[in-house]
Symmetry: C2
DNA sequence: TTGTAAGCGTTATCAT
DNA sequence: ATGATAACGCTTACAA
């Protein structure tokens, strides 16, 4: 069943049917009703490829998860983000194509790029992580493919949080508790957000007049296992073990917690733990993981909104949206039961965050 | 840059360029070389929509994650499966479209269905979970959309494991340890695999002559929280607490472990724990989570292979592929350090599983 | 081996 | 408000 047949049956031209399907106002109520009736009766649905070819729009977006981070697809961060992206796509009647390159395989990464981006499979693409030195962002711009970065980027529209300041707050909170030997497990230095959070950690120490000590920084790769291994190193440090640790992500913080427990030590009494992300999965840890809460699904939703705007108006201003964050102290930082029950419940917190995006636009 | 221009520049016809692009043998080496040169020089990439319209193939697959389970997208099961599906798609130069309906919203589920399936956005679809009473599988068949089920289905090609027998083995192992009060936390009864695993639990008890006790079965919904809550109920059971628990998934088993620890009890001494899935994320639990290992990425890969076969030959036999599983005893079931170190390392195990699919075909 | 030409099912332009 | 008609960029018989 195609446009032509519907037109014939309804006794109108293809153009009229097309207008009805696309919600064009320039159709008489009479004709519209008749056409809609036939469409429903025969269950007509426009053919996606034909539509795309003629309109030069695919109504599909791409979501790129770079190969550099695909090994941490096990981090619940990504599922949460995907959820937000998918929801927003559905609401806009757009499809979502997953672009995940294999890890160390530039050849197939290139094949995927050519097929999807250059082949115009999609109308725009969401880049899910700023990876240092990743040529992808520059290439899509050169190929005229609208793109939005979740993270930092100089020329692309971006959705992000203020990683550095949020991390600074988190570490400042540990300092307020009286900890002085504060370790940090940063994510890989190829990922911009990891570096920003590390900078925030350093800023908090500086502000408190605590000298930086590189032996307190043990890098991880955002996996739980890396957090576990990093913490083991930190506990065996010759200068003595740290009294607190700030994980570059909740997932690494949970790994650290495990190493602490395995060493027969207690959280927070021997070593306090602070995470970053606020993943709902970790709500039920004991003691509750203190963390810096961000709304990850909202990051995804906002990226879709920005991208759709960009597609509709490629010459509009390059927006940079910053979403709010909030310190969420639970048991693991040393805040007692009091703080835990006082803490804003997760749901409220998240809806609050969603209401508070900070926008800034530059032409 | 399009076919026409390439043809003009190379001094051949559009057909010849098309043949070169599509690897048709009926082209002289001479012409092929010249065309390829021009293609490379100008960076030509065929237009996806035009191709689809003419060839009636989109080179895109869909992956449907039903709304009934989308709330457990936080379960690492799904990311692992997606990973396998994506890898296989990439290797075949196919794109992957994510179909995730919102949870209780039949209207938008229907919109998505119409747009994607009826609009012929994809060449075939992978159904990721058998949900009891889900009309989706029947509809795609009626709409002539090739489909493969990950799970059980009477008429569709399927990829699955023998959930019932695997669960039986897992519980039999607990019985071998001497436990008699074995509880079970099944997944929701709307999901076929959850019921099959529960049946396996019951079978193991029957075989050992242990009477079924419904107060030992406390359902969950595959989330960690539900496992935690179910275990709390089980611990407060008037007839006394169970001496072992079989979780319907690793994630629920981990939740149960947490409840046990919170109650001041020890795993496995007070309550032994057995999971199901073998998610790599839980490898670093302490004590290690004993589980029934399956290869989830391989489930996804195999589904893609089956679907591609189906698309190429819709009238071929309806294959049902069963992938192998293996009991993976670690600390939480009561197997000591010996068993833990004896246990086949994860990587080996997985590659072993991948080699051992059991195939059965029925016309 | 190569070229010609007829679609594929829409949208979009331009009359009317 | 409606309809003819020309794209859109490719594949695919069919002819040569």
């Amino acid at each position: 069943m195609n446009l032509e047949e519907i037109a014939r049956i309804a006794g109108v031209s293809r153009s009229t049917v097309s207008r009805v399907v696309n919600g064009d106002k320039r159709v008489s109520d009479d004709a519209r009703a008749r056409v809609n009736e036939i469409i429903t009766e025969y269950g007509y649905q426009p053919h996606a490829a034909a539509r795309s070819l003629a309109s030069r729009r695919t109504r599909m977006l791409g979501l790129r998860i770079p190969g550099e981070v695909s090994f941490i697809f096990s981090d619940p961060y990504f599922p949460e983000m995907v959820q937000g992206v998918v929801d927003a796509c559905n609401e806009a009647d757009y499809g979502l194509m997953l672009m995940m390159e294999p890890e160390n395989d530039p050849i197939s990464a290139e094949r995927i790029y050519q097929r999807v981006i250059r082949g115009r499979h999609i109308d725009g693409v969401i880049l899910s992580t700023s990876v240092i030195g990743d040529p992808f962002a520059g290439r899509v711009a050169a190929d005229g493919m609208p793109a939005v970065m979740i993270g930092r980027h100089p020329t692309l529209p971006t959705v992000d949080i203020d990683n550095a300041d949020a991390a600074r707050q988190a570490v400042a909170h540990l300092i307020d508790h009286g900890y002085r030997q504060i370790a940090h497990i940063p994510g890989p230095c190829t990922i911009a957000a990891a570096n920003e959070r590390k900078a925030g950690y350093e800023a908090a120490l500086s502000e408190a007049g605590i000298p930086l000590d590189s032996s307190l920084v043990e890098p991880g790769d955002f996996t739980e296992l890396s957090g576990y291994l990093a913490m083991r190193h930190l506990l065996e440090r010759p200068e003595g073990r740290p009294d607190a640790v700030f994980g570059g992500s909740d997932t690494m913080a949970v790994g650290a917690t495990r190493a602490i427990a395995e060493a027969g030590l207690s959280v927070p009494d021997d070593v306090a733990v602070m995470g970053f992300d606020g993943l709902s999965v970790h709500t039920r840890n004991y003691p509750g993981l203190s963390t810096l809460q961000q709304s990850i699904p909202n990051l995804g939703r906002t990226a879709v909104e920005l991208l759709l705007k960009r597609i509709a108006n490629p010459d509009g201003p390059t927006e940079h949206v910053y979403l709010g964050t909030a310190l969420s102290p639970r048991g693991s930082c040393g805040c007692g039961e009091a703080a835990r029950t006082d803490a804003t419940p997760l749901e409220e917190l998240v809806s609050h965050l969603e209401d508070a995006p900070v926008m800034s636009a530059c032409a």
